[in-house]
């Protein structure tokens, strides 16, 4: 494992260092804002003691919100991406900052404060010359623990499409690449330790008080302010480049591959720059609002999902409804489906190949006659779902000999070993491409159709007409088998999504 991780890291150093930089940027912005804002709030509630209790209760409450729900709450307000991540991280960082500032100031000896007051200091002078310097050790330890926590927590930021090392973790999980997840986690831990050590050093320096140390302290403070200012400025300045296409993908292996294909083709055929936000957590429910607000310009979607989740239509989607859906997208959302890839990522029923050959099975209807002799397997929720096992059996008149609950990761192994004879799969499952099974045709149309295509904002298509032809050029270019093979190349063989995308484009002669 360590060997694999090391090879991965040395092979893709640029990728990881880029994520590391982004991670540092997001965390440091949140830390800088929390120091300023939390410090200010901490000072204010110490000066106006009556407001301390209610303020701390509110901040305490915010702190108890689970990070995932916090991100969920924020998406409608600040959208997908770095801004939301920074806001969420700042909210969490506020508590330690406010509390330590308040505690530090509250614990200053009242006799010292009275002496300062009696000597004719104004309230502000007492604050700056006496309270804050004396509270500094407590505030500093607050900053230290807050900074480490923020860096660790920033790992979840990728869930909502922000950058940082969480991208590596999340991508590793979705594409079955444990080494990638481990490298990402390890780098976060190292970063947190490093920052902690650095702040510990600063803390120690602050306690020294020789003349030389004082000069160094001042230099250090100036440096820290400059670094913070620099981070904030670089964060604000280069807003959005003009000619950039923003592409989002869902956290699924095949979408990672499709995203890379689009990136390669658009940058190859046009002068446009592509910004790819891979694996946005929550998929459609988070990407679609960001499309509507213009944060993303296009993303690969599935027709059935568009019909049921985006247009919120009830009932089974079939491709007969495509024109109606296209019209609705155009009229209500100002978006269009462009470039249907050809593959259909839907549910499918498979049987082991020897059984299919033995009984001459081609369609699901064929299965009815022999089901009584077969064992059926699926993950446990399939037996609970409304459109699951019972509905399937009713639609095709199936009655299996036995049913087995299986872990999703083990079902291909189970059918290979003969523990089960039939099971439900996704038609582009990576393992399907290497399994010795036969997919039975859904001849009665029990499952909705989930053809994959790109949903694009009309505005972008008008602005960059070249985009439409590039997307159209991929129409019908990928079959279910192609997609399953590519998924397997990533999940089973550990290839990089980008390499797989390149390989495919080369094969269909789309790579220059």
């Amino acid at each position: 494992m360590l060997q694999t991780m090391w090879t991965l890291f040395t092979g893709r150093t640029g990728f990881f260092l880029g994520l590391l930089g982004e991670h540092l940027k997001i965390s440091l912005i949140a830390i800088a804002i929390a120091i300023l804002l939390g410090g200010a709030v901490g000072i204010l509630i110490s000066e106006f003691q009556r407001s301390a209790k209610p303020t701390l209760s509110v901040i305490n409450f915010l702190y108890t919100i689970p990070s995932i729900s916090m991100l969920g709450f924020l998406i409608p307000f600040s959208g997908i991406g770095n801004a939301t991540a920074v806001i969420a991280l700042t909210v969490y960082a506020l508590l330690p900052m406010v509390r330590n500032t308040h505690t530090g100031i509250a614990n200053v000896d009242p006799a010292i404060l009275e002496a300062a007051e009696g000597m004719g200091s104004t309230r502000l002078q007492i604050l700056w010359k006496v309270k804050l310097p004396l509270a500094m050790p407590v505030i500093m330890s607050g900053i230290r623990s807050m900074a480490t926590m923020t860096i660790a927590l920033a790992g979840i930021a990728s869930f909502i499409g922000a950058g940082g090392l969480g991208v590596a973790i999340y991508r590793g999980i979705t594409t079955n690449n444990a080494a990638m997840t481990m490298v990402g986690s390890l780098l976060i831990a190292l970063l947190a330790l490093l920052v902690d050590a650095l702040l510990g050093f600063v803390e120690k320096r602050m306690r020294r008080r020789s003349a030389g140390a004082k000069r160094a302290k001042r230099a250090l403070a100036v440096l820290a302010v400059l670094v913070c200012a620099g981070i904030v400025v670089t964060a604000i300045l280069p807003g959005r480049h003009k000619d950039t296409i923003h592409i989002a993908t869902k956290p699924m292996t095949e979408q990672y591959i499709l995203g890379e294909m689009l990136d390669i083709l658009i940058e190859q055929d046009t002068d446009l720059n592509v910004e790819l936000t891979q694996g946005v957590g929550g998929g459609t429910s988070n990407i679609q609002p960001a499309m509507e607000s213009g944060e993303f310009d296009l993303y690969p979607e599935y027709t059935g999902t568009g019909w049921n989740m985006v247009l919120k239509e009830d009932g089974l989607y079939t491709e007969d409804l495509f024109d109606k859906m296209q019209q609705a997208y155009n009229d209500t959302l100002d978006m269009r489906w462009v470039g249907m890839y050809g593959f259909n990522n839907t549910f499918g029923l498979v049987v082991r190949r020897e059984i299919a050959e033995q009984y001459g099975l081609e369609t699901c209807s064929d299965l009815a006659a022999v089901a009584g002799q077969l064992t059926f397997g699926a993950e446990y929720d399939f037996f609970e779902r409304e459109d699951g096992y019972d509905a399937l059996c009713a639609a095709y008149g199936l009655g299996f000999k036995k049913t087995v609950d299986l872990d999703i990761g083990l079902k291909y192994q189970a059918i290979d070993q003969g523990k089960i004879d039939a099971m439900v799969i996704f038609t582009t499952d990576g393992q399907l491409s290497v399994a010795d099974v036969k997919v039975l045709e859904d001849d009665k149309g029990f499952y909705p159709s989930y053809l994959c295509g790109n949903v694009v904002r009309n505005g972008v298509l008008e602005q960059y007409p070249a985009l439409e032809s590039i997307l159209q050029s991929l129409t019908g270019s990928i079959t279910d088998e192609d997609m399953a093979c590519m998924n397997y190349a990533v999940e089973g063989e550990g290839q990089e999504p980008r390499a797989v995308a390149e390989g495919f484009l080369r094969r269909i002669n789309r790579l220059k």
Binding site: A111, M119, G120, T122, R209
Partner: protein
């Protein structure tokens, strides 16, 4: 003689406990007044009314003929030296920064003048110049008190308020500090209010002694008069032992 501080029928109570009850008293300019009395007799309260840290429930306190209420408190306080019990030097500042605290509040820009004032007052209170970069926790108890006095006097105030400033030092150091303080007083002729609970200290230091009990004045007189003609049984009891010694 001019009056520096005047209390006009001042009353102050904390809850049901009355600490000053129709307190009526005037201090001549240039007097060194020691204030003595049982604990809780209102001596510290009276002291803190002079620089406006505590305000009276009824009555008025005048400084240089003007009511503290109508004074600009910040300006008033910068003109009144204030030294309180124990070590309340600013622990995060050096000796030099502590002494320069009030001068810095007054004239931020004139660094040379502040520096000169610090050196002058360190000399007067008998502190070696090489102690300037030290921090309070690197000083002995006696040195800390000297810094406290220098800090209170650094802006050359007209009035000096001291609340048991030597309460936390040993007997020998205390004796030395008393001699120094008396010498400084004779050099500067400023008005001093000095709260203590040690009758020997009160009699040795003050040109005038104020004896208080339960918020009321028992006697206000020079030390010799106090010893010879105690006005009340309370005063008599208080000076009994000192009379026998002398």
């Amino acid at each position: 003689m001019k009056t520096a501080i005047e209390f006009q029928r001042v009353t102050k109570a904390y809850g049901s406990k009355v600490v000053l009850d129709g307190f009526h008293w005037a201090v001549e300019k240039g007097a060194f007044v020691t204030i003595i009395g049982s604990s809780g007799c209102g001596k510290t309260t009276a002291l803190k009314m002079v620089n406006g840290l505590i305000s009276p429930d009824a009555g008025d306190v005048l400084v240089n003929g003007e009511s503290v209420k109508s004074h600009d408190l910040i300006g008033l306080r910068r003109n009144i030296g204030y030294a309180i019990q124990g070590s309340v030097l600013f622990p995060h500042m050096t000796v030099e920064q502590n002494i320069a605290y009030v001068p810095n509040l007054l004239n931020k820009r004139d660094k040379a003048r502040t520096k000169a004032a610090v050196e002058k007052w360190m000399g007067i209170v008998g502190l070696d110049a090489e102690l300037k970069p030290r921090y309070p926790d690197e000083l002995s108890g006696g040195q800390q008190q000297r810094v406290g006095i220098a800090r209170a006097l650094a802006a050359s105030p007209e009035i000096l308020l001291m609340d048991e400033p030597f309460g936390a030092v040993d007997e020998i150091t205390r004796g030395q500090l008393q001699i120094e303080l008396r010498r400084i007083y004779e050099q500067t002729q400023i008005t001093v209010l000095f709260v203590t609970h040690d009758i020997a200290e009160a009699l040795n230091l003050g040109t005038m002694v104020l004896v208080m009990d339960e918020g009321k004045i028992q006697q206000y007189a020079p030390p010799s008069e106090l010893l010879q003609a105690p006005a009340t049984p309370f005063v008599k009891r208080l000076v009994e032992r000192e009379r026998q010694i002398r």
